[in-house]
Subunit: 364 residues, 2 copies
């Protein structure tokens, strides 16, 4: 009787799980169940220990045919990085597409959820993602940015567009917002629904070749943005060049770059978006000069910015405390900002949602 | 004395090896020596056996600190897929960029060589790589192609461009020619040197969801090319639409698709390129109807085609025998073609060179 019940449960599971949309074509596993658990299964007859690392580590168990398997707890919405750990070595899952994150090509699993309609591929006009090489005189090297041009950009050859410059996090690169972020689909859908105006989104490489992330890296980033990327974009693409037609936003490390380069240049950017970020409370060497600048320029910042939009992935976001302390300083200085939270922690599902909400406010 | 000599040899090796250009940023290994050997080194203290699979398998050896290492024999020029096999599981190297090949995200190692100047990043005008979604009525699904638009495409808004449609091999997809193939750099450099005319290159997804690769898949591919991709490109981009301004080329599986769809449609394509391919000599069911069509239409094919360009990666190419038998049939039918060989087998270094030579002949 119990056996029958177990059999039914397992049949039921089998019927309601489907390959994850992030799998490479044809890969049957990982699968997602109807209650958002993920089933991982891979063949490794000679391995001694296989684990799944989804932020939380799961031990996988081996069956008699050499397949290792595990079913996770319910996963939250959207995109999650993961690794397989095969006898101690963390590697990408051969069954998954890979994404540059955690400073390497990592696996990602996409968990469908009820509210994922805003980045679904729909029958609406679609823009292009472009990959563009440019030579940086600042960094003395060839670099690459990704860029979204909205539907109609190629046809409307006299129209100029506003630009959102958007930044990835640490251990990621210019590919992040295009792949993990689904930027093209989010903007395509919003433009079609008239929730956002057609805009160009420049996804630049925020990595600065230097040791760590300190004041020097921050200043070099600002120089790269102002002297390389923006002039290149404004020379080569049909974009509006007034401050009201420029936005700057970023997540985590990119949020700090936005705070650093954005607040010092509000004559260039009328919109700033800071996702899951905040100056480190325990690094006053880095943050104090920033606060000092803000204090001395609070009136200008408040006057110039149409949006200073700060968002956090709930209390579970690793940047939560830093952000809270930073917002306290902003309040003392009477710097105006908006603040919102969306649960999900320090992760792409939150940042997709941040882009969705922030982009609606831009260039209107 | 011997020890001293060994020490000097190892110092010498250390001085003349550099991280491969295909590594993820910051990764020190794999390295390439000045005599084109590759040194692989990775930490895996708990693994029992680690191998490197570069087509040929190498056993790696573990040192006392848990690092596994191997130095390969001299590698031939350019790009090679590889895997690490950790206790029997073939995975991508966490230190490498990944490339969709062998039906999964595989590692690739780029071996610099004296003749690699033709795909070097140079101070010349650069085109864009675009990623474009489209809905296929033929396949009833959303698909993606990659497209190269040459430098000046955005500025010269009345100019129309010829188009090369180019196809990847089995186990690859629309990303192959853009990443493994370095299509943008090859064309950028040739256009700047006036060796090739500015052209658009459409890198379509040649995978047809069906079992295997037979007549049905071939016919569906032809339908997808003619009814989905070409009309979409011609509607949305500034392209010339006469046969003399259209070329079709492909490698391996894509070469067969070019033979199949190209030869039946020489009223559409004045240029065909077939790289490392040929009808399977042991599958007359697939090839005989093709030969029959060619026999009945030899005069039209010869009249319409300005180039029927066939190339092989030397005798070591797995398609060599099939191609040779096919060319014998072409000779019997008096079908005109050009044939050339470039050593390197069934691999991307050959196909990059094929594109370089083929593109120079186009649209002149």
């Amino acid at each position: 009787m119990l056996l029958l019940l177990l059999l039914q449960v397992s049949i039921c599971l089998a019927q309601t799980s489907k390959p994850a949309p992030s799998n490479i074509r044809g890969a049957q596993y990982p699968q997602i169940t109807s209650d958002s658990r993920a089933i991982f299964k891979m063949r490794a007859p000679d391995a001694v220990k296989v684990q799944l690392d989804l932020g939380r580590k799961y031990d996988m168990t081996k069956n008699s045919e050499g397949f290792w398997e595990v079913t996770t707890d319910s996963l939250t919405e959207g995109f999650h990085y993961y690794s397989l750990i095969i006898d101690g070595v963390a590697v990408a899952d051969p069954a998954s597409e890979t994404f540059y994150g955690m400073s390497r090509m990592a696996s990602g699993i996409e968990v469908p959820f009820k509210g994922d309609d805003y980045y679904a591929v729909k029958d609406v006009p679609h823009g292009d993602i472009r990959i563009k090489r440019y030579y940086s005189e600042v960094l003395k090297s060839w670099r690459t940015f990704y860029m979204y041009t909205p539907a109609g950009y190629d046809q409307n050859t006299t129209q100029k567009y506003p630009v959102l410059y958007i930044l990835h996090g640490g251990g990621e690169d210019q590919r992040g917002w295009a792949t993990q972020g689904k930027t093209d689909l989010i903007i395509d859908n919003m433009v079609a629904a008239k929730k956002a105006v057609p805009m160009i989104v420049v996804m630049m490489d925020g990595n600065i070749p230097s040791r760590g992330f300190g004041e020097e890296a921050l200043n070099t980033f600002e120089k790269e943005l102002k002297e390389s990327v923006i002039p290149f974009v404004e020379k080569n693409y049909r974009v509006k060049t007034d401050a009201n037609s420029r936005a700057l936003a970023g997540l985590s490390m990119g949020g700090m770059q936005t705070l650093g380069a954005g607040l010092k240049n509000t004559q260039m950017f009328a919109y700033l978006g800071v996702f899951s970020s905040g100056w480190w409370a325990n690094q006053p060497d880095l943050s104090n000069p920033q606060y000092e600048y803000m204090k001395n320029n609070a009136a200008t910042i408040n006057k110039n910015l149409k949006q200073f939009w700060i968002a956090m992935g709930g209390k579970e976001d690793i940047a939560y405390q830093n952000c809270k302390i930073m917002l306290g300083k902003f309040d003392e200085m009477k710097i105006k900002y908006s603040y919102s939270e969306y649960p999900g922690g320090h992760a792409w599902p939150v940042w997709r949602n941040n882009l969705y909400n922030f982009a609606q406010l831009l260039f209107k």
